[in-house]
Protein backbone atom coordinates (compact mmCIF):
# COMPACT_ATOMS: atom_id res chain seq x y z
CA UNK A 1 0.00 0.00 0.00
CA UNK A 2 1.37 3.41 -0.93
CA UNK A 3 2.15 5.90 1.86
CA UNK A 4 -0.50 8.49 0.81
CA UNK A 5 -3.14 5.78 0.60
CA UNK A 6 -2.27 4.75 4.16
CA UNK A 7 -2.00 8.28 5.56
CA UNK A 8 -5.48 9.25 4.38
CA UNK A 9 -6.94 6.80 6.91
CA UNK A 10 -4.48 7.42 9.73
CA UNK A 11 -7.01 8.89 12.18
CA UNK A 12 -9.22 5.85 11.70
CA UNK A 13 -6.33 3.40 11.92
CA UNK A 14 -4.56 5.00 14.93
CA UNK A 15 -7.53 6.25 16.95
CA UNK A 16 -10.44 3.98 15.89
CA UNK A 17 -12.41 6.97 14.65
CA UNK A 18 -15.64 6.15 12.80
CA UNK A 19 -18.93 7.93 12.25
CA UNK A 20 -22.26 8.29 14.02
CA UNK A 21 -25.45 9.08 12.13
CA UNK A 22 -27.00 12.28 13.52
CA UNK A 23 -30.41 11.08 12.34
CA UNK A 24 -30.74 7.55 13.80
CA UNK A 25 -27.72 7.37 16.11
CA UNK A 26 -26.23 4.24 14.52
CA UNK A 27 -22.42 4.05 14.58
CA UNK A 28 -20.16 2.89 11.76
CA UNK A 29 -16.55 1.89 11.22
CA UNK A 30 -14.81 2.80 8.94
CA UNK A 31 -16.06 6.32 8.20
CA UNK A 32 -19.14 6.64 5.98
CA UNK A 33 -20.62 9.83 4.56
CA UNK A 34 -24.11 8.33 4.12
CA UNK A 35 -26.04 6.24 6.66
CA UNK A 36 -27.24 2.97 5.01
CA UNK A 37 -30.39 3.13 7.19
CA UNK A 38 -31.35 6.80 6.69
CA UNK A 39 -29.93 7.57 3.21
CA UNK A 40 -30.50 11.23 2.29
CA UNK A 41 -31.83 12.20 5.74
CA UNK A 42 -28.31 11.49 7.06
CA UNK A 43 -26.41 13.65 4.58
CA UNK A 44 -24.51 16.38 6.39
CA UNK A 45 -25.40 14.80 9.76
CA UNK A 46 -22.68 12.11 9.93
CA UNK A 47 -20.31 13.06 12.79
CA UNK A 48 -16.98 11.62 13.85
CA UNK A 49 -16.94 9.34 16.86
CA UNK A 50 -14.03 7.64 18.64
CA UNK A 51 -14.60 4.04 19.70
CA UNK A 52 -13.43 2.64 23.04
CA UNK A 53 -11.78 -0.35 21.36
CA UNK A 54 -13.59 -2.73 23.71
CA UNK A 55 -15.72 -5.49 22.27
CA UNK A 56 -16.31 -9.22 21.91
CA UNK A 57 -15.07 -11.89 19.48
CA UNK A 58 -17.88 -12.41 16.92
CA UNK A 59 -15.94 -14.94 14.83
CA UNK A 60 -12.29 -15.83 14.27
CA UNK A 61 -9.84 -17.94 12.31
CA UNK A 62 -6.22 -18.98 12.53
CA UNK A 63 -4.48 -18.12 9.26
CA UNK A 64 -1.88 -20.67 8.12
CA UNK A 65 -1.38 -19.43 4.55
CA UNK A 66 -0.86 -15.67 4.71
CA UNK A 67 -0.88 -13.01 2.05
CA UNK A 68 2.51 -11.60 1.00
CA UNK A 69 2.85 -8.99 3.78
CA UNK A 70 1.89 -11.52 6.49
CA UNK A 71 3.37 -14.82 5.36
CA UNK A 72 6.25 -14.54 7.86
CA UNK A 73 3.81 -14.26 10.80
CA UNK A 74 1.81 -17.49 10.28
CA UNK A 75 0.03 -18.93 12.12
CA UNK A 76 -1.82 -15.84 13.37
CA UNK A 77 -5.36 -15.13 14.57
CA UNK A 78 -7.78 -12.89 12.66
CA UNK A 79 -11.19 -12.03 14.03
CA UNK A 80 -14.36 -10.06 13.50
CA UNK A 81 -14.84 -8.05 16.70
CA UNK A 82 -18.22 -6.64 17.69
CA UNK A 83 -17.37 -3.32 19.36
CA UNK A 84 -19.34 -2.34 22.48
CA UNK A 85 -20.74 0.64 20.52
CA UNK A 86 -22.21 -1.69 17.85
CA UNK A 87 -20.16 -1.85 14.67
CA UNK A 88 -18.13 -4.92 13.72
CA UNK A 89 -14.50 -4.62 12.68
CA UNK A 90 -11.86 -7.00 11.36
CA UNK A 91 -8.54 -7.21 13.20
CA UNK A 92 -5.75 -9.45 14.41
CA UNK A 93 -5.80 -10.93 17.93
CA UNK A 94 -2.34 -11.01 19.53
CA UNK A 95 -0.55 -11.94 22.77
CA UNK A 96 -2.25 -15.32 23.20
CA UNK A 97 -2.06 -18.91 22.00
CA UNK A 98 -4.07 -19.73 18.87
CA UNK A 99 -6.13 -22.25 20.89
CA UNK A 100 -7.12 -19.68 23.56
CA UNK A 101 -9.67 -17.73 21.48
CA UNK A 102 -13.41 -18.49 21.62
CA UNK A 103 -16.49 -16.72 20.24
CA UNK A 104 -17.89 -14.25 22.80
CA UNK A 105 -14.60 -13.50 24.62
CA UNK A 106 -14.10 -9.83 25.59
CA UNK A 107 -11.21 -8.02 23.88
CA UNK A 108 -9.56 -4.59 23.97
CA UNK A 109 -7.75 -2.76 21.18
CA UNK A 110 -4.01 -2.12 21.23
CA UNK A 111 -1.81 0.01 18.97
CA UNK A 112 0.73 -2.09 17.10
CA UNK A 113 2.82 -2.44 13.96
CA UNK A 114 0.61 -3.95 11.23
CA UNK A 115 3.28 -4.66 8.66
CA UNK A 116 5.95 -3.23 6.46
CA UNK A 117 6.43 -2.68 2.80
CA UNK A 118 9.63 -4.56 1.97
CA UNK A 119 10.41 -2.42 -1.08
CA UNK A 120 9.98 1.08 0.40
CA UNK A 121 10.76 0.12 4.02
CA UNK A 122 7.59 1.92 5.17
CA UNK A 123 6.23 0.58 8.46
CA UNK A 124 2.46 0.68 9.00
CA UNK A 125 0.84 0.95 12.45
CA UNK A 126 -2.76 0.52 13.55
CA UNK A 127 -5.17 -1.40 15.78
CA UNK A 128 -5.00 -5.00 16.85
CA UNK A 129 -6.87 -6.71 19.69
CA UNK A 130 -6.00 -8.79 22.75
CA UNK A 131 -8.09 -10.87 25.12
CA UNK A 132 -9.09 -9.03 28.31
CA UNK A 133 -7.61 -10.53 31.44
Amino acid sequence: MSAPRFWREINQRYNLVGTECGNCGKKYFPIRSVCPECHRESIGKMKKVKFSGNGKVFSYTVIHVGSSMFQMQTPYIMAIIELDEGPRITGQIIDCETKDVKIGMPVESVFRKIGEDGKSGTIYYGYKFRLMK
Binding site: P30, T61, V65, S67, M78, Q92, T98, I103
Partner: protein, 388 residues
Protein backbone atom coordinates in the same frame (compact mmCIF):
# COMPACT_ATOMS: atom_id res chain seq x y z
CA UNK B 1 -38.26 -8.28 -23.55
CA UNK B 2 -37.49 -11.20 -25.86
CA UNK B 3 -36.93 -14.79 -24.76
CA UNK B 4 -33.24 -15.76 -24.92
CA UNK B 5 -31.68 -19.13 -25.70
CA UNK B 6 -28.20 -20.56 -25.30
CA UNK B 7 -27.27 -22.20 -28.61
CA UNK B 8 -23.64 -23.15 -28.06
CA UNK B 9 -21.21 -23.96 -25.26
CA UNK B 10 -17.45 -24.42 -24.94
CA UNK B 11 -15.14 -25.03 -22.00
CA UNK B 12 -11.42 -25.80 -21.73
CA UNK B 13 -9.84 -28.31 -19.42
CA UNK B 14 -9.33 -26.61 -16.02
CA UNK B 15 -6.05 -26.91 -14.14
CA UNK B 16 -2.47 -25.70 -13.99
CA UNK B 17 -2.11 -25.20 -17.73
CA UNK B 18 1.43 -23.87 -18.00
CA UNK B 19 1.52 -24.25 -21.79
CA UNK B 20 -1.61 -22.12 -22.31
CA UNK B 21 -1.96 -18.33 -22.25
CA UNK B 22 -4.90 -16.14 -21.20
CA UNK B 23 -5.79 -15.40 -24.81
CA UNK B 24 -5.16 -18.99 -25.93
CA UNK B 25 -7.59 -20.34 -23.32
CA UNK B 26 -10.49 -18.04 -24.06
CA UNK B 27 -10.13 -18.37 -27.83
CA UNK B 28 -10.17 -22.17 -27.47
CA UNK B 29 -13.42 -22.03 -25.46
CA UNK B 30 -14.97 -19.39 -27.75
CA UNK B 31 -14.26 -21.28 -30.98
CA UNK B 32 -15.65 -24.47 -29.43
CA UNK B 33 -18.87 -22.62 -28.50
CA UNK B 34 -19.18 -21.11 -32.00
CA UNK B 35 -18.62 -24.48 -33.62
CA UNK B 36 -21.17 -26.07 -31.27
CA UNK B 37 -23.78 -23.40 -32.10
CA UNK B 38 -23.30 -23.29 -35.84
CA UNK B 39 -22.88 -19.50 -35.88
CA UNK B 40 -20.05 -17.97 -37.87
CA UNK B 41 -18.09 -14.83 -37.01
CA UNK B 42 -20.35 -12.92 -39.48
CA UNK B 43 -23.35 -13.62 -37.22
CA UNK B 44 -21.82 -12.29 -33.99
CA UNK B 45 -23.03 -8.86 -32.84
CA UNK B 46 -21.27 -8.40 -29.49
CA UNK B 47 -18.93 -9.97 -26.96
CA UNK B 48 -19.02 -9.86 -23.14
CA UNK B 49 -15.94 -11.20 -21.34
CA UNK B 50 -15.90 -12.03 -17.63
CA UNK B 51 -12.48 -11.66 -16.05
CA UNK B 52 -11.61 -10.82 -12.47
CA UNK B 53 -8.01 -9.79 -12.37
CA UNK B 54 -5.89 -10.30 -15.47
CA UNK B 55 -4.12 -7.11 -14.37
CA UNK B 56 -2.80 -8.73 -11.20
CA UNK B 57 -2.42 -12.25 -12.60
CA UNK B 58 -0.77 -11.54 -15.98
CA UNK B 59 -0.38 -7.70 -16.07
CA UNK B 60 -2.91 -7.45 -18.89
CA UNK B 61 -6.01 -5.26 -18.80
CA UNK B 62 -8.39 -4.39 -21.67
CA UNK B 63 -9.13 -8.09 -21.87
CA UNK B 64 -12.36 -8.07 -23.90
CA UNK B 65 -10.88 -6.35 -26.95
CA UNK B 66 -7.93 -8.75 -26.73
CA UNK B 67 -10.34 -11.72 -26.76
CA UNK B 68 -12.22 -10.33 -29.77
CA UNK B 69 -8.94 -9.66 -31.56
CA UNK B 70 -7.56 -13.19 -31.15
CA UNK B 71 -10.94 -14.75 -31.89
CA UNK B 72 -10.56 -13.12 -35.30
CA UNK B 73 -13.33 -10.57 -34.75
CA UNK B 74 -11.31 -7.32 -34.86
CA UNK B 75 -12.16 -6.62 -38.49
CA UNK B 76 -15.88 -6.86 -37.64
CA UNK B 77 -15.49 -4.08 -35.03
CA UNK B 78 -18.16 -5.51 -32.71
CA UNK B 79 -18.52 -4.04 -29.21
CA UNK B 80 -16.34 -6.06 -26.79
CA UNK B 81 -16.94 -5.39 -23.09
CA UNK B 82 -15.07 -6.73 -20.09
CA UNK B 83 -17.18 -7.47 -17.02
CA UNK B 84 -15.60 -7.50 -13.56
CA UNK B 85 -17.40 -8.44 -10.32
CA UNK B 86 -14.65 -10.50 -8.68
CA UNK B 87 -15.43 -14.26 -8.74
CA UNK B 88 -18.92 -13.46 -10.12
CA UNK B 89 -17.47 -11.84 -13.27
CA UNK B 90 -18.49 -14.78 -15.48
CA UNK B 91 -22.06 -14.98 -14.21
CA UNK B 92 -22.48 -11.23 -14.56
CA UNK B 93 -21.03 -11.35 -18.10
CA UNK B 94 -23.71 -13.93 -18.93
CA UNK B 95 -26.35 -11.61 -17.45
CA UNK B 96 -25.05 -8.67 -19.51
CA UNK B 97 -25.21 -10.78 -22.67
CA UNK B 98 -28.71 -11.94 -21.71
CA UNK B 99 -29.90 -8.36 -21.14
CA UNK B 100 -28.48 -7.21 -24.47
CA UNK B 101 -30.28 -9.97 -26.41
CA UNK B 102 -33.52 -9.76 -24.39
CA UNK B 103 -33.67 -5.99 -24.93
CA UNK B 104 -33.35 -6.34 -28.69
CA UNK B 105 -30.07 -4.42 -28.89
CA UNK B 106 -28.09 -7.46 -30.08
CA UNK B 107 -29.08 -10.73 -31.74
CA UNK B 108 -26.10 -13.08 -31.50
CA UNK B 109 -23.78 -12.57 -28.53
CA UNK B 110 -20.67 -14.41 -27.32
CA UNK B 111 -20.25 -14.58 -23.56
CA UNK B 112 -16.81 -15.64 -22.37
CA UNK B 113 -15.09 -16.04 -19.03
CA UNK B 114 -11.39 -16.58 -18.42
CA UNK B 115 -8.73 -16.50 -15.73
CA UNK B 116 -5.04 -17.36 -15.95
CA UNK B 117 -3.98 -17.68 -12.30
CA UNK B 118 -0.92 -19.93 -12.19
CA UNK B 119 1.60 -17.56 -13.76
CA UNK B 120 2.13 -15.91 -10.34
CA UNK B 121 3.33 -17.34 -7.01
CA UNK B 122 0.83 -18.66 -4.46
CA UNK B 123 1.25 -15.58 -2.23
CA UNK B 124 0.64 -13.16 -5.13
CA UNK B 125 -2.43 -15.19 -6.14
CA UNK B 126 -3.59 -14.97 -2.49
CA UNK B 127 -3.14 -11.16 -2.66
CA UNK B 128 -5.06 -10.91 -5.95
CA UNK B 129 -7.98 -12.94 -4.56
CA UNK B 130 -7.98 -10.87 -1.34
CA UNK B 131 -8.66 -7.79 -3.50
CA UNK B 132 -12.24 -9.11 -3.88
CA UNK B 133 -12.78 -8.13 -0.23
CA UNK B 134 -12.28 -4.68 1.29
CA UNK B 135 -8.61 -3.95 0.65
CA UNK B 136 -8.34 -1.16 3.25
CA UNK B 137 -10.32 -2.71 6.14
CA UNK B 138 -9.96 -6.47 5.64
CA UNK B 139 -6.98 -7.72 3.64
CA UNK B 140 -4.60 -4.90 4.61
CA UNK B 141 -5.00 -6.02 8.24
CA UNK B 142 -4.00 -9.62 7.43
CA UNK B 143 -7.17 -11.52 6.59
CA UNK B 144 -7.01 -13.67 3.46
CA UNK B 145 -9.88 -14.75 1.24
CA UNK B 146 -10.00 -18.25 2.82
CA UNK B 147 -9.81 -16.42 6.18
CA UNK B 148 -13.10 -14.60 5.51
CA UNK B 149 -14.87 -17.85 4.66
CA UNK B 150 -13.25 -19.51 7.67
CA UNK B 151 -14.89 -16.89 9.92
CA UNK B 152 -18.21 -17.60 8.20
CA UNK B 153 -17.67 -21.33 8.86
CA UNK B 154 -16.72 -20.77 12.51
CA UNK B 155 -19.85 -18.70 13.12
CA UNK B 156 -22.04 -21.27 11.28
CA UNK B 157 -20.58 -23.99 13.54
CA UNK B 158 -21.32 -21.79 16.57
CA UNK B 159 -24.92 -20.94 15.62
CA UNK B 160 -26.06 -24.18 13.95
CA UNK B 161 -23.71 -26.84 15.35
CA UNK B 162 -22.32 -27.48 11.86
CA UNK B 163 -19.32 -29.83 12.07
CA UNK B 164 -15.97 -30.23 10.31
CA UNK B 165 -17.24 -33.61 9.10
CA UNK B 166 -20.26 -31.95 7.48
CA UNK B 167 -17.99 -29.46 5.71
CA UNK B 168 -15.85 -32.39 4.62
CA UNK B 169 -18.87 -34.22 3.19
CA UNK B 170 -19.24 -31.40 0.63
CA UNK B 171 -15.66 -31.88 -0.58
CA UNK B 172 -16.02 -35.68 -0.77
CA UNK B 173 -19.27 -35.38 -2.78
CA UNK B 174 -17.86 -32.79 -5.19
CA UNK B 175 -14.72 -34.84 -5.82
CA UNK B 176 -16.93 -37.89 -6.47
CA UNK B 177 -18.77 -35.88 -9.17
CA UNK B 178 -15.58 -34.29 -10.51
CA UNK B 179 -14.06 -37.75 -11.00
CA UNK B 180 -16.71 -38.20 -13.73
CA UNK B 181 -15.91 -34.90 -15.48
CA UNK B 182 -13.12 -35.08 -18.10
CA UNK B 183 -12.63 -31.27 -17.94
CA UNK B 184 -12.14 -31.18 -14.15
CA UNK B 185 -8.86 -30.18 -12.54
CA UNK B 186 -9.06 -33.08 -10.04
CA UNK B 187 -10.66 -36.22 -11.43
CA UNK B 188 -10.06 -38.19 -8.28
CA UNK B 189 -12.23 -39.23 -5.36
CA UNK B 190 -11.12 -38.31 -1.85
CA UNK B 191 -12.05 -39.68 1.57
CA UNK B 192 -13.41 -37.82 4.59
CA UNK B 193 -10.23 -38.79 6.47
CA UNK B 194 -8.12 -37.04 3.82
CA UNK B 195 -10.22 -33.88 4.17
CA UNK B 196 -10.04 -33.92 7.98
CA UNK B 197 -6.29 -34.60 8.09
CA UNK B 198 -5.28 -32.07 5.41
CA UNK B 199 -2.99 -29.16 6.33
CA UNK B 200 -4.87 -26.09 7.59
CA UNK B 201 -5.28 -23.03 5.36
CA UNK B 202 -7.47 -20.89 7.66
CA UNK B 203 -9.02 -22.76 10.59
CA UNK B 204 -11.44 -24.51 10.46
CA UNK B 205 -10.83 -24.77 6.68
CA UNK B 206 -8.13 -27.15 5.50
CA UNK B 207 -6.66 -27.63 2.06
CA UNK B 208 -9.53 -29.89 0.90
CA UNK B 209 -12.14 -27.35 2.05
CA UNK B 210 -10.76 -24.87 -0.51
CA UNK B 211 -11.18 -24.70 -4.28
CA UNK B 212 -7.84 -24.69 -6.13
CA UNK B 213 -6.04 -21.98 -8.06
CA UNK B 214 -6.78 -22.72 -11.70
CA UNK B 215 -6.41 -21.70 -15.31
CA UNK B 216 -9.38 -22.08 -17.63
CA UNK B 217 -12.00 -20.52 -19.84
CA UNK B 218 -15.60 -21.09 -20.89
CA UNK B 219 -17.93 -19.59 -23.48
CA UNK B 220 -21.59 -19.48 -24.49
CA UNK B 221 -23.45 -18.26 -27.57
CA UNK B 222 -26.80 -16.53 -26.98
CA UNK B 223 -29.50 -15.52 -29.42
CA UNK B 224 -33.26 -14.77 -29.38
CA UNK B 225 -35.24 -17.97 -28.76
CA UNK B 226 -37.26 -17.42 -31.95
CA UNK B 227 -34.07 -17.62 -34.04
CA UNK B 228 -32.40 -20.44 -32.11
CA UNK B 229 -33.63 -23.31 -34.29
CA UNK B 230 -31.99 -21.74 -37.31
CA UNK B 231 -28.64 -22.51 -35.72
CA UNK B 232 -29.14 -25.60 -33.56
CA UNK B 233 -31.47 -28.52 -32.76
CA UNK B 234 -31.02 -28.32 -28.99
CA UNK B 235 -31.36 -24.75 -27.69
CA UNK B 236 -31.80 -24.21 -23.95
CA UNK B 237 -33.95 -21.31 -22.74
CA UNK B 238 -32.80 -18.88 -20.04
CA UNK B 239 -35.99 -18.53 -17.99
CA UNK B 240 -34.66 -16.20 -15.27
CA UNK B 241 -31.69 -13.95 -14.55
CA UNK B 242 -31.07 -11.91 -11.40
CA UNK B 243 -28.20 -10.21 -9.65
CA UNK B 244 -27.87 -8.57 -6.23
CA UNK B 245 -25.24 -6.87 -4.07
CA UNK B 246 -24.35 -6.41 -0.40
CA UNK B 247 -21.64 -4.77 1.73
CA UNK B 248 -18.16 -5.45 0.42
CA UNK B 249 -16.72 -6.35 3.81
CA UNK B 250 -17.91 -9.44 5.65
CA UNK B 251 -17.87 -7.69 9.05
CA UNK B 252 -20.51 -5.15 7.90
CA UNK B 253 -23.11 -7.82 7.01
CA UNK B 254 -26.36 -8.22 8.92
CA UNK B 255 -25.58 -11.95 9.35
CA UNK B 256 -22.35 -13.66 8.26
CA UNK B 257 -24.06 -17.08 8.03
CA UNK B 258 -26.48 -15.87 5.34
CA UNK B 259 -25.65 -14.20 2.04
CA UNK B 260 -28.43 -11.65 1.72
CA UNK B 261 -27.36 -11.00 -1.91
CA UNK B 262 -28.07 -14.66 -2.72
CA UNK B 263 -31.41 -14.53 -0.89
CA UNK B 264 -32.44 -11.38 -2.80
CA UNK B 265 -31.39 -12.72 -6.22
CA UNK B 266 -33.01 -16.10 -5.50
CA UNK B 267 -36.35 -14.50 -4.62
CA UNK B 268 -36.16 -12.62 -7.92
CA UNK B 269 -35.34 -15.65 -10.14
CA UNK B 270 -37.97 -17.90 -8.57
CA UNK B 271 -40.58 -15.21 -9.24
CA UNK B 272 -39.40 -14.62 -12.85
CA UNK B 273 -39.38 -18.33 -13.64
CA UNK B 274 -42.51 -19.09 -11.63
CA UNK B 275 -40.63 -21.98 -10.01
CA UNK B 276 -39.96 -23.18 -6.48
CA UNK B 277 -36.75 -24.77 -5.16
CA UNK B 278 -38.35 -28.23 -5.51
CA UNK B 279 -38.76 -27.62 -9.28
CA UNK B 280 -34.98 -27.38 -9.79
CA UNK B 281 -33.43 -30.67 -10.95
CA UNK B 282 -29.80 -29.62 -10.63
CA UNK B 283 -27.86 -26.62 -9.43
CA UNK B 284 -24.28 -25.51 -9.90
CA UNK B 285 -23.60 -23.50 -6.71
CA UNK B 286 -20.56 -21.40 -5.92
CA UNK B 287 -18.53 -23.73 -3.66
CA UNK B 288 -15.26 -21.77 -3.50
CA UNK B 289 -15.08 -23.31 -0.01
CA UNK B 290 -17.07 -26.17 1.51
CA UNK B 291 -18.89 -23.73 3.83
CA UNK B 292 -19.96 -21.69 0.80
CA UNK B 293 -21.94 -24.62 -0.63
CA UNK B 294 -23.63 -25.21 2.72
CA UNK B 295 -24.64 -21.54 3.03
CA UNK B 296 -25.71 -21.48 -0.65
CA UNK B 297 -28.10 -24.44 -0.50
CA UNK B 298 -29.71 -22.80 2.56
CA UNK B 299 -29.97 -19.34 0.98
CA UNK B 300 -31.35 -20.79 -2.28
CA UNK B 301 -34.13 -22.47 -0.30
CA UNK B 302 -33.19 -26.12 -0.94
CA UNK B 303 -32.89 -26.70 2.82
CA UNK B 304 -33.76 -24.62 5.92
CA UNK B 305 -31.20 -22.18 7.35
CA UNK B 306 -28.77 -24.10 9.51
CA UNK B 307 -29.51 -27.50 7.95
CA UNK B 308 -27.06 -27.33 5.02
CA UNK B 309 -24.37 -29.27 6.86
CA UNK B 310 -26.72 -32.04 7.91
CA UNK B 311 -28.23 -32.30 4.40
CA UNK B 312 -24.75 -32.61 2.87
CA UNK B 313 -23.71 -35.27 5.36
CA UNK B 314 -26.91 -37.26 4.72
CA UNK B 315 -26.27 -37.30 0.97
CA UNK B 316 -29.32 -35.23 -0.07
CA UNK B 317 -27.13 -33.16 -2.45
CA UNK B 318 -25.39 -36.08 -4.20
CA UNK B 319 -25.77 -36.83 -7.90
CA UNK B 320 -29.39 -37.91 -8.53
CA UNK B 321 -30.35 -37.59 -4.85
CA UNK B 322 -32.93 -35.05 -3.57
CA UNK B 323 -31.27 -32.19 -5.48
CA UNK B 324 -28.12 -32.72 -7.58
CA UNK B 325 -25.74 -30.03 -6.33
CA UNK B 326 -22.61 -29.42 -8.41
CA UNK B 327 -22.77 -32.44 -10.74
CA UNK B 328 -19.72 -30.99 -12.53
CA UNK B 329 -17.62 -31.39 -9.38
CA UNK B 330 -18.10 -27.74 -8.52
CA UNK B 331 -15.36 -25.20 -8.03
CA UNK B 332 -13.82 -27.58 -5.50
CA UNK B 333 -13.01 -30.40 -7.90
CA UNK B 334 -13.57 -28.97 -11.38
CA UNK B 335 -11.37 -25.96 -10.53
CA UNK B 336 -12.01 -22.24 -10.03
CA UNK B 337 -10.45 -19.96 -12.65
CA UNK B 338 -12.41 -17.10 -11.10
CA UNK B 339 -13.52 -15.11 -14.16
CA UNK B 340 -14.45 -18.31 -16.02
CA UNK B 341 -16.44 -19.92 -13.21
CA UNK B 342 -19.87 -18.33 -13.76
CA UNK B 343 -19.77 -19.16 -17.47
CA UNK B 344 -18.50 -22.70 -16.86
CA UNK B 345 -21.40 -23.30 -14.43
CA UNK B 346 -23.81 -22.40 -17.25
CA UNK B 347 -21.92 -24.70 -19.66
CA UNK B 348 -22.45 -27.58 -17.21
CA UNK B 349 -26.17 -26.88 -16.71
CA UNK B 350 -26.77 -26.65 -20.47
CA UNK B 351 -24.79 -29.85 -21.09
CA UNK B 352 -26.98 -31.56 -18.46
CA UNK B 353 -30.25 -30.19 -19.89
CA UNK B 354 -29.22 -31.45 -23.34
CA UNK B 355 -28.61 -34.88 -21.81
CA UNK B 356 -24.96 -34.86 -22.87
CA UNK B 357 -23.25 -35.09 -19.47
CA UNK B 358 -22.15 -38.72 -19.82
CA UNK B 359 -21.40 -40.54 -16.56
CA UNK B 360 -22.42 -37.57 -14.42
CA UNK B 361 -25.78 -37.08 -16.17
CA UNK B 362 -28.62 -36.02 -13.88
CA UNK B 363 -31.65 -38.18 -14.77
CA UNK B 364 -34.58 -36.40 -16.43
CA UNK B 365 -32.90 -33.01 -16.07
CA UNK B 366 -35.37 -30.34 -17.25
CA UNK B 367 -34.65 -27.28 -15.09
CA UNK B 368 -31.20 -26.21 -13.90
CA UNK B 369 -29.80 -23.29 -11.92
CA UNK B 370 -26.43 -21.53 -11.66
CA UNK B 371 -25.38 -19.55 -8.57
CA UNK B 372 -22.22 -17.46 -8.77
CA UNK B 373 -20.79 -15.33 -5.91
CA UNK B 374 -18.30 -12.47 -5.91
CA UNK B 375 -15.92 -11.87 -2.99
CA UNK B 376 -17.35 -13.00 0.34
CA UNK B 377 -20.90 -12.48 -1.01
CA UNK B 378 -21.04 -8.80 -2.04
CA UNK B 379 -22.27 -9.94 -5.47
CA UNK B 380 -24.61 -12.82 -6.26
CA UNK B 381 -25.87 -13.69 -9.74
CA UNK B 382 -28.34 -16.51 -10.41
CA UNK B 383 -29.77 -17.95 -13.63
CA UNK B 384 -32.41 -20.61 -14.28
CA UNK B 385 -32.39 -22.59 -17.54
CA UNK B 386 -35.01 -24.90 -19.01
CA UNK B 387 -34.81 -27.57 -21.70
CA UNK B 388 -37.27 -26.93 -24.55
Amino acid sequence: MRDVAVIGVGVTKFGELWDKSLRGLIVEAGLEAMHDSGVTSKDVDALYGGNMSSGLFVSQEHTAALIGDFAGLASRHIPATRVEDACASGGVALRQGYISVASGIHDVVIVGGVEKMTDVSESLATDALASAGDREWESFLGVTFPGLYAMMARRHMHEYKTTKEQLGAVAVKNHRNGALNPKAQYQKEITLEQVLNAPMVAEPLGLYDCSPISDGAAALILCPLERARKFTDNPVKIIASAQASDTLSLHSRRDICTMDATVAAARNVYRQANKKPKDIDLVEVHDCFTITEIVAIEDLGFVKKGEGGKASEEGLTALNAEISVNPSGGLKSKGHPVGATGVAQAVEVITQLRGEAGKRQVKNARVGMTHNIGGSGATAVIHIFEAI
